[in-house]
Protein backbone atom coordinates (compact mmCIF):
# COMPACT_ATOMS: atom_id res chain seq x y z
CA UNK A 1 0.00 0.00 0.00
CA UNK A 2 1.60 3.26 -1.13
CA UNK A 3 2.10 5.98 1.43
CA UNK A 4 0.33 9.31 1.12
CA UNK A 5 3.53 10.98 0.00
CA UNK A 6 4.10 8.37 -2.71
CA UNK A 7 0.55 8.74 -3.95
CA UNK A 8 0.85 12.51 -4.01
CA UNK A 9 4.08 12.15 -5.96
CA UNK A 10 2.34 9.88 -8.47
CA UNK A 11 -0.47 12.40 -8.84
CA UNK A 12 1.89 15.33 -9.37
CA UNK A 13 4.04 13.39 -11.85
CA UNK A 14 1.01 12.25 -13.81
CA UNK A 15 -0.39 15.76 -13.97
CA UNK A 16 2.92 17.24 -15.11
CA UNK A 17 3.06 14.60 -17.84
CA UNK A 18 -0.41 15.56 -19.08
CA UNK A 19 0.64 19.19 -19.31
CA UNK A 20 3.91 18.33 -21.01
CA UNK A 21 2.17 16.18 -23.59
CA UNK A 22 -0.28 18.97 -24.33
CA UNK A 23 -3.37 17.14 -23.17
CA UNK A 24 -4.09 19.88 -20.67
CA UNK A 25 -3.25 23.57 -20.62
CA UNK A 26 -3.33 26.37 -18.09
CA UNK A 27 -7.12 26.62 -18.21
CA UNK A 28 -7.23 23.35 -16.26
CA UNK A 29 -5.20 25.08 -13.54
CA UNK A 30 -7.76 27.88 -13.56
CA UNK A 31 -10.50 25.35 -12.90
CA UNK A 32 -8.54 23.86 -10.00
CA UNK A 33 -8.18 27.31 -8.51
CA UNK A 34 -11.95 27.66 -8.56
CA UNK A 35 -12.33 24.57 -6.42
CA UNK A 36 -12.41 25.02 -2.66
CA UNK A 37 -13.85 23.52 0.53
CA UNK A 38 -17.32 24.78 -0.30
CA UNK A 39 -17.08 23.29 -3.80
CA UNK A 40 -14.74 20.33 -3.44
CA UNK A 41 -15.99 18.57 -6.56
CA UNK A 42 -16.09 21.48 -8.95
CA UNK A 43 -13.43 20.20 -11.34
CA UNK A 44 -14.94 16.72 -11.54
CA UNK A 45 -18.39 18.22 -12.08
CA UNK A 46 -17.30 20.48 -14.91
CA UNK A 47 -15.24 17.77 -16.57
CA UNK A 48 -18.14 15.32 -16.29
CA UNK A 49 -20.38 17.87 -18.00
CA UNK A 50 -17.72 18.21 -20.67
CA UNK A 51 -17.70 14.43 -21.22
CA UNK A 52 -21.48 14.28 -21.56
CA UNK A 53 -21.68 17.29 -23.81
CA UNK A 54 -18.80 16.17 -26.01
CA UNK A 55 -20.23 12.72 -26.53
CA UNK A 56 -23.50 14.26 -27.60
CA UNK A 57 -21.71 16.60 -30.01
CA UNK A 58 -19.57 13.80 -31.48
CA UNK A 59 -22.72 11.77 -32.14
CA UNK A 60 -24.36 14.73 -33.83
CA UNK A 61 -21.25 15.32 -35.92
CA UNK A 62 -21.11 11.71 -37.07
CA UNK A 63 -24.79 11.84 -38.07
CA UNK A 64 -24.40 15.17 -39.85
CA UNK A 65 -21.45 13.95 -41.90
CA UNK A 66 -23.39 10.85 -42.99
CA UNK A 67 -26.17 12.87 -44.57
CA UNK A 68 -26.69 12.88 -48.33
CA UNK A 69 -26.64 16.63 -48.33
CA UNK A 70 -24.13 17.76 -45.73
CA UNK A 71 -25.12 20.80 -43.68
CA UNK A 72 -21.78 22.50 -43.05
CA UNK A 73 -23.34 25.30 -41.03
CA UNK A 74 -24.74 22.80 -38.58
CA UNK A 75 -21.45 20.93 -38.40
CA UNK A 76 -19.56 24.16 -37.83
CA UNK A 77 -21.95 25.08 -35.02
CA UNK A 78 -21.31 21.75 -33.28
CA UNK A 79 -17.55 22.03 -33.72
CA UNK A 80 -17.69 25.59 -32.37
CA UNK A 81 -19.40 24.26 -29.23
CA UNK A 82 -16.85 21.50 -28.83
CA UNK A 83 -14.01 23.93 -29.36
CA UNK A 84 -15.49 26.20 -26.72
CA UNK A 85 -16.00 23.55 -24.08
CA UNK A 86 -12.63 21.93 -24.60
CA UNK A 87 -11.00 25.33 -24.34
CA UNK A 88 -12.90 26.06 -21.13
CA UNK A 89 -11.62 22.97 -19.38
CA UNK A 90 -8.13 23.12 -20.83
CA UNK A 91 -8.39 20.11 -23.15
CA UNK A 92 -5.87 21.63 -25.50
CA UNK A 93 -5.43 18.84 -28.05
CA UNK A 94 -9.17 18.51 -28.60
CA UNK A 95 -9.42 22.26 -29.04
CA UNK A 96 -6.64 22.28 -31.62
CA UNK A 97 -8.31 19.67 -33.80
CA UNK A 98 -11.52 21.70 -33.66
CA UNK A 99 -9.74 24.69 -35.13
CA UNK A 100 -8.70 22.68 -38.20
CA UNK A 101 -12.13 21.13 -38.34
CA UNK A 102 -13.79 24.53 -38.63
CA UNK A 103 -11.48 25.45 -41.49
CA UNK A 104 -12.57 22.36 -43.42
CA UNK A 105 -16.20 23.26 -42.73
CA UNK A 106 -15.63 26.66 -44.22
CA UNK A 107 -14.10 25.06 -47.29
CA UNK A 108 -16.97 22.55 -47.42
CA UNK A 109 -14.34 19.84 -47.61
CA UNK A 110 -16.05 16.57 -46.75
CA UNK A 111 -12.91 14.49 -46.60
CA UNK A 112 -11.17 17.01 -44.41
CA UNK A 113 -14.17 17.05 -42.10
CA UNK A 114 -14.30 13.29 -41.88
CA UNK A 115 -10.62 13.14 -41.11
CA UNK A 116 -11.04 15.75 -38.38
CA UNK A 117 -13.96 13.93 -36.86
CA UNK A 118 -11.84 10.83 -36.63
CA UNK A 119 -9.01 12.83 -35.07
CA UNK A 120 -11.19 14.67 -32.60
CA UNK A 121 -12.83 11.44 -31.49
CA UNK A 122 -9.40 10.01 -30.85
CA UNK A 123 -8.18 13.05 -28.92
CA UNK A 124 -11.36 13.17 -26.92
CA UNK A 125 -11.07 9.52 -26.02
CA UNK A 126 -7.45 10.01 -24.96
CA UNK A 127 -8.09 13.04 -22.76
CA UNK A 128 -11.12 11.34 -21.22
CA UNK A 129 -9.03 8.34 -20.21
CA UNK A 130 -6.25 10.57 -18.88
CA UNK A 131 -8.63 12.71 -16.83
CA UNK A 132 -10.37 9.66 -15.41
CA UNK A 133 -6.98 8.33 -14.36
CA UNK A 134 -6.14 11.69 -12.82
CA UNK A 135 -9.34 11.75 -10.80
CA UNK A 136 -8.74 8.18 -9.69
CA UNK A 137 -5.29 9.15 -8.40
CA UNK A 138 -6.84 12.11 -6.58
CA UNK A 139 -9.35 9.84 -4.88
CA UNK A 140 -6.53 7.52 -3.80
CA UNK A 141 -4.65 10.43 -2.22
CA UNK A 142 -7.76 11.60 -0.40
CA UNK A 143 -8.63 8.07 0.74
CA UNK A 144 -5.14 7.72 2.17
CA UNK A 145 -5.75 10.85 4.21
CA UNK A 146 -3.67 13.19 2.06
CA UNK A 147 -4.61 16.46 0.42
CA UNK A 148 -4.53 17.37 -3.22
CA UNK A 149 -1.49 19.55 -4.04
CA UNK A 150 -3.38 22.02 -6.30
CA UNK A 151 -2.89 24.37 -7.92
CA UNK A 152 0.52 23.52 -9.31
Amino acid sequence: MDSVVQLQRQLVDYTVQLFNEGFLDDQFNQLQQLQDESNPDFVVEVVTLFFEDSERLLDELAKALEQQSVDYTKIDAHVHQLKGSSSSIGAQRVQKVCIGFRNFCEERNIEGCQKCLHQVKREYSLVKTKLETLFKLERKVLAAGGSIPWPM
Binding site: Q27, Q30, L31, L34, N39, D53, G84, S85, S87, S88
Partner: protein, 159 residues
Protein backbone atom coordinates in the same frame (compact mmCIF):
# COMPACT_ATOMS: atom_id res chain seq x y z
CA UNK B 1 -27.77 17.78 -15.06
CA UNK B 2 -31.07 19.43 -15.91
CA UNK B 3 -30.80 21.70 -18.87
CA UNK B 4 -34.48 22.41 -18.94
CA UNK B 5 -34.60 25.58 -16.89
CA UNK B 6 -34.11 28.77 -18.83
CA UNK B 7 -32.10 30.37 -16.14
CA UNK B 8 -30.88 29.49 -12.68
CA UNK B 9 -29.75 31.58 -9.76
CA UNK B 10 -27.41 31.10 -6.90
CA UNK B 11 -29.12 31.65 -3.54
CA UNK B 12 -29.80 35.33 -3.07
CA UNK B 13 -28.91 37.25 0.03
CA UNK B 14 -31.41 39.36 1.88
CA UNK B 15 -31.16 43.05 1.23
CA UNK B 16 -28.40 44.60 3.28
CA UNK B 17 -26.20 47.62 2.93
CA UNK B 18 -23.41 45.38 1.73
CA UNK B 19 -25.31 43.45 -0.95
CA UNK B 20 -23.48 41.07 -3.17
CA UNK B 21 -23.21 42.32 -6.76
CA UNK B 22 -25.53 40.45 -9.08
CA UNK B 23 -24.18 39.21 -12.38
CA UNK B 24 -26.33 37.98 -15.25
CA UNK B 25 -24.26 35.59 -17.39
CA UNK B 26 -25.53 34.72 -20.87
CA UNK B 27 -23.96 31.84 -22.78
CA UNK B 28 -25.31 29.00 -24.88
CA UNK B 29 -22.55 26.63 -23.78
CA UNK B 30 -23.41 24.65 -20.67
CA UNK B 31 -19.80 24.18 -19.58
CA UNK B 32 -19.08 27.88 -19.98
CA UNK B 33 -22.14 28.78 -17.93
CA UNK B 34 -20.93 26.57 -15.10
CA UNK B 35 -17.41 28.01 -15.20
CA UNK B 36 -18.58 31.64 -15.38
CA UNK B 37 -20.97 31.01 -12.54
CA UNK B 38 -18.20 29.67 -10.31
CA UNK B 39 -15.81 32.42 -11.38
CA UNK B 40 -18.19 35.09 -10.18
CA UNK B 41 -19.49 33.28 -7.12
CA UNK B 42 -15.85 32.91 -6.04
CA UNK B 43 -15.52 36.64 -6.49
CA UNK B 44 -18.46 36.94 -4.07
CA UNK B 45 -21.14 37.83 -6.56
CA UNK B 46 -24.58 36.39 -6.92
CA UNK B 47 -24.98 34.84 -10.39
CA UNK B 48 -27.95 34.19 -12.63
CA UNK B 49 -27.31 32.35 -15.87
CA UNK B 50 -29.32 32.43 -19.08
CA UNK B 51 -28.78 30.15 -22.02
CA UNK B 52 -29.47 32.67 -24.78
CA UNK B 53 -30.31 36.31 -25.53
CA UNK B 54 -34.06 35.73 -25.60
CA UNK B 55 -34.04 34.25 -22.09
CA UNK B 56 -31.80 37.05 -20.87
CA UNK B 57 -34.24 39.66 -22.18
CA UNK B 58 -37.14 37.83 -20.56
CA UNK B 59 -35.29 37.85 -17.26
CA UNK B 60 -34.65 41.58 -17.58
CA UNK B 61 -38.25 42.21 -18.53
CA UNK B 62 -37.25 43.48 -21.95
CA UNK B 63 -38.70 40.77 -24.16
CA UNK B 64 -41.25 41.72 -26.81
CA UNK B 65 -44.61 42.22 -25.23
CA UNK B 66 -43.20 42.40 -21.73
CA UNK B 67 -43.67 45.32 -19.41
CA UNK B 68 -40.65 45.79 -17.19
CA UNK B 69 -42.09 45.51 -13.73
CA UNK B 70 -39.38 43.74 -11.81
CA UNK B 71 -39.46 46.06 -8.87
CA UNK B 72 -36.73 44.27 -7.04
CA UNK B 73 -34.58 43.26 -9.98
CA UNK B 74 -31.06 44.43 -9.46
CA UNK B 75 -28.40 43.47 -11.95
CA UNK B 76 -24.96 45.04 -11.62
CA UNK B 77 -23.26 43.45 -14.59
CA UNK B 78 -24.27 41.52 -17.67
CA UNK B 79 -21.70 39.28 -19.23
CA UNK B 80 -22.61 37.77 -22.54
CA UNK B 81 -21.04 35.46 -25.05
CA UNK B 82 -20.88 36.93 -28.55
CA UNK B 83 -21.66 33.86 -30.65
CA UNK B 84 -25.04 32.52 -29.67
CA UNK B 85 -27.81 31.08 -31.80
CA UNK B 86 -30.84 33.28 -32.40
CA UNK B 87 -29.43 36.49 -31.02
CA UNK B 88 -25.77 37.38 -30.87
CA UNK B 89 -24.22 39.00 -27.82
CA UNK B 90 -23.97 42.20 -29.85
CA UNK B 91 -27.70 42.17 -30.59
CA UNK B 92 -28.40 41.57 -26.91
CA UNK B 93 -26.09 44.45 -26.02
CA UNK B 94 -28.00 46.78 -28.36
CA UNK B 95 -31.36 45.76 -26.90
CA UNK B 96 -30.12 46.44 -23.39
CA UNK B 97 -28.63 49.81 -24.33
CA UNK B 98 -31.89 50.81 -26.03
CA UNK B 99 -33.83 50.19 -22.83
CA UNK B 100 -34.44 53.26 -20.67
CA UNK B 101 -34.51 51.04 -17.59
CA UNK B 102 -31.54 48.78 -18.26
CA UNK B 103 -29.15 50.84 -20.35
CA UNK B 104 -27.03 51.84 -17.36
CA UNK B 105 -26.07 48.27 -16.59
CA UNK B 106 -22.52 47.58 -17.77
CA UNK B 107 -22.42 44.87 -20.42
CA UNK B 108 -19.27 42.87 -21.04
CA UNK B 109 -19.02 40.82 -24.22
CA UNK B 110 -16.88 37.70 -24.31
CA UNK B 111 -15.75 35.74 -27.33
CA UNK B 112 -13.39 32.91 -28.14
CA UNK B 113 -12.42 34.77 -31.32
CA UNK B 114 -10.12 37.77 -31.39
CA UNK B 115 -11.67 39.69 -34.30
CA UNK B 116 -10.90 43.43 -34.27
CA UNK B 117 -14.02 44.41 -36.24
CA UNK B 118 -16.14 42.44 -33.78
CA UNK B 119 -14.43 44.10 -30.83
CA UNK B 120 -14.93 47.56 -32.34
CA UNK B 121 -18.55 46.83 -33.09
CA UNK B 122 -19.23 45.86 -29.49
CA UNK B 123 -17.34 48.78 -28.01
CA UNK B 124 -19.17 51.18 -30.36
CA UNK B 125 -22.39 49.50 -29.30
CA UNK B 126 -21.75 50.48 -25.69
CA UNK B 127 -20.00 47.44 -24.25
CA UNK B 128 -18.07 48.09 -21.07
CA UNK B 129 -15.39 45.66 -22.15
CA UNK B 130 -14.66 42.88 -24.58
CA UNK B 131 -12.88 39.86 -23.15
CA UNK B 132 -11.46 36.75 -24.73
CA UNK B 133 -12.51 33.30 -23.68
CA UNK B 134 -11.79 31.26 -21.76
CA UNK B 135 -12.33 33.58 -18.83
CA UNK B 136 -10.01 33.39 -15.89
CA UNK B 137 -10.23 34.22 -12.23
CA UNK B 138 -8.28 37.43 -12.83
CA UNK B 139 -10.98 38.57 -15.31
CA UNK B 140 -13.72 38.04 -12.75
CA UNK B 141 -11.71 39.86 -10.08
CA UNK B 142 -11.15 42.78 -12.46
CA UNK B 143 -14.81 42.93 -13.41
CA UNK B 144 -15.87 42.81 -9.78
CA UNK B 145 -13.77 45.92 -9.16
CA UNK B 146 -15.59 47.66 -12.03
CA UNK B 147 -18.92 46.68 -10.52
CA UNK B 148 -17.94 47.96 -7.10
CA UNK B 149 -16.86 51.30 -8.55
CA UNK B 150 -20.08 51.58 -10.53
CA UNK B 151 -22.18 50.86 -7.44
CA UNK B 152 -20.23 53.40 -5.42
CA UNK B 153 -20.78 56.00 -8.11
CA UNK B 154 -24.49 55.19 -8.08
CA UNK B 155 -24.40 54.27 -11.75
CA UNK B 156 -26.03 50.87 -11.28
CA UNK B 157 -29.69 50.89 -12.03
CA UNK B 158 -32.10 49.79 -9.32
CA UNK B 159 -35.78 49.36 -9.86
Amino acid sequence: MANTSSFSSSPSTKFSFDEKPHVLAVDDNLIDRKVIERLFINSTCKVTTAENGKRALEYLGLADGQHPNHNDLKVNLIITDYSMPGMTGYELLKRIKESPTMKEIPVVVVSSENIPTRINQCMQGGAQEFLLKPLQLSDATKLRCHIKKAITRGVCRRR
